[in-house]
């Protein structure tokens, strides 16, 4: 008989759940307020946790309780087999926050597919392709054309918020789910792509500024196009050297840059703003960046792409820019309602799909609330928000 209050869990499942969630022993021990040695003893089968501790562990690791009582660990595909190669992220060594975000987004995609099938809705096809032997300028042009957003519309947007909403909606119409994830540092990743077809996913770090998100979404779109053309593989199977991978990243950067800022529009704005002879100090770059609703850094990269800046000038500009940014006060987020946050996180198409399935009685209230991570009492606000047209809430406020 186990000691009073303890419960016989499968030790190998304790190890599996912790490692799959990306945690070391110390984080688990700290959360459960026990010594590290105690967790180690559970995992070796030398001691058993109490039932309450197993419940706590399940909550902390975001795992179903029953998983700890399986006879052997579930065979799940590695997360790195799902996402594109990310600079600085070693497959299998993602942070716990990123691992959780990946799981959540993969589940959301699967739920979207199931709901579409249940409702008899056609699954949109992602048909854009890019090859590394193509000109990134041409790939950028194709992407831009696919969005259906012309330069005049872009220049007319009042600021970067409507810009980000419009870019997101345009990319979603290409058969891509666009999610945002919280709690992952920008240092780990600004965005990623889940290379699953159909219904691939672009995920943007919610900590990012809207002007930067616009660039990231196009950057990730290029990766999806390359993956769809078998030019790149998921992180786990991507075998290029870092130098070779750097070339892929530069291709994606250049294509994204040209999609966001078409050459003709760039030259027109520079001429109209009297910047044809600019030496491109921070103020001038900011002026042009504001017109296109992108970050000054992305604009500097774009100016370099078109030869307005030399590489030397660009490096110097970046150093000046980094010093300037260091003097700025940390950005503070605005207020967003729970419904707005849900749409911001999961995207308008997914939120609409959940509501449609709910109305058609193809989904229970509990599942609908779980899918959107939104209490049911906010669903009316959600409906009103969706009726209001594309909008965007801050993620990490």
């Amino acid at each position: 008989m186990p000691p009073s209050g303890t419960i016989p869990v499968n030790p190998s499942l304790l190890v599996w759940a912790r490692e799959e969630s990306g945690y070391g022993l110390e984080r688990v021990a700290k959360r459960l307020q026990v010594k590290e040695e105690r967790v180690e003893a559970w995992e070796k089968g030398e001691r058993q946790p109490t039932f309450r501790q197993v419940e706590e562990l399940a909550k902390f690791l975001h795992r179903p309780l029953s998983v700890f009582f399986l006879s052997r660990p579930p065979q799940l595909p590695p997360l790195a087999a799902e996402y594109r190669r990310l600079p600085g992220v070693e497959p299998g060594h993602e942070s716990p926050e990123l691992r959780l975000a990946l799981r959540q987004m993969l589940n959301r995609r699967e739920n979207a597919l199931n709901l579409m099938e249940e409702l008899g809705e056609p699954i949109p096809e992602f048909s854009l392709r890019a090859h590394l032997n193509e000109s990134p300028v041409e790939v950028g042009r194709q992407m831009r054309e696919a969005t259906g957003i012309d330069s005049m519309t872009q220049l007319d947007w009042s600021n970067e918020w409507p810009a980000w909403s419009a870019w997101r909606a345009a990319v979603e119409q290409l058969g891509v789910l666009v999610f945002q994830f919280p709690k992952v540092t920008l240092e780990e990743t600004r965005g990623l792509a889940l290379l699953r077809m159909p219904l691939p996913v672009i995920a943007i770090n919610g900590k990012e500024m809207p002007a930067a998100k616009a660039y990231t979404i196009f950057h990730e779109l290029v990766h999806l196009m390359l993956a769809a053309a078998n030019e790149e593989m998921p992180a786990l199977r991507e075998r290029r050297s870092s130098v070779e991978w750097g070339k892929v990243e530069r291709f994606a950067e250049a294509a994204a840059s040209h999609a966001l800022v078409p050459e003709t529009a760039l030259r027109t704005i520079i001429r109209n703003q009297g910047l044809s002879n600019s030496t491109w100090d921070i103020a001038d770059v900011r002026k042009v960046a504001r017109a296109f609703k992108i970050t000054p850094l992305a604009m500097a990269t774009r100016l370099r792409e078109s030869g307005f800046m030399t590489w030397n000038r660009y490096h110097q500009w970046r150093a000046d820019w980094d010093s300037f940014v260091a003097t700025l006060r940390p950005r503070r987020g605005g207020f967003a309602s729970p419904a707005e946050k849900a749409v911001s996180r999961a995207g308008r198409p997914f939120a609409q799909l959940v509501l449609e399935a709910l109305s058609a009685n193809r989904l229970t209230t509990v599942d609908a609330a779980r899918y959107l991570d939104l209490r049911f009492e906010h669903f009316e606000t959600l409906r009103n928000h969706l009726r209001g047209g594309p909008g965007e809430a801050a993620m990490d406020e």
């Binding site: 419960i7 039932f51 419940e55 399940a58 975001h62 795992r63 179903p64 309780l65 029953s66 998983v67 009582f69 399986l70 579930p74 799940l76 799981r103 959540q104 993969l106 589940n107 199931n114 099938e117 249940e118 409702l119 008899g120 009685n361 193809r362 229970t364 209230t365 509990v366 609330a369 779980r370 939104l374 209490r375 049911f376 009492e377």
Partner: protein, 147 residues
């Protein structure tokens, strides 16, 4: 949660709540603690308050766990190792089985779904295990409630 969130919200159907409360008083209405957890996470403020006030109806998970695991082992679709949380389905069925109860669920069987992602939903499992299961409307008829 389903009934109070959509077809019969508590503010519009207070007499339904009164009937449910009468079942509770008669010790005829129980649920696994996981349902309480679910309500706390996704329920309306009103339902959370009601659930908290009726905490005695929720049977601790430890009491139902073994039976729920056995049901999950038999109907593996009730367990999703990729999920972030434990689904209450197997626990609801286990509780009915342990206490000789009737499952009240708004979930529809697999046959009523266009493209079911698993073969067994709550009504399907109940049918195979010989556990009676009814919808809330079925409960109303069974109890001869009229409004």
């Amino acid at each position: 949660m389903e009934w109070q969130a959509r077809p019969y919200p508590m503010d519009v159907f207070p007499s339904l709540v009164a009937q449910i409360n009468a079942l509770i008083t008669a010790d005829r209405f129980i649920a696994p603690a996981l349902v309480h957890e679910e309500v706390k996470i996704v329920g309306t403020a009103e339902l959370i308050k009601w659930a908290d006030e009726n905490e005695n109806i929720f049977v601790p998970t430890a009491e139902v766990l073994s039976e729920a695991l056995s049901i999950q082992n038999q109907f593996t679709g009730l367990r999703d190792p990729k999920a972030e949380y434990e689904e209450a389905d197997a626990y609801v069925i286990a509780l009915a089985r342990l206490r000789g109860g009737i499952v009240v669920t708004q979930e529809t069987p697999a046959a009523e779904k266009r493209n079911p992602k698993r073969t067994h939903f709550i009504p399907d499992v109940c049918r195979e295990l010989g556990i009676p299961s009814i919808s809330l409307l079925g409960l109303m008829r069974r109890e001869r409630w009229t409004f």
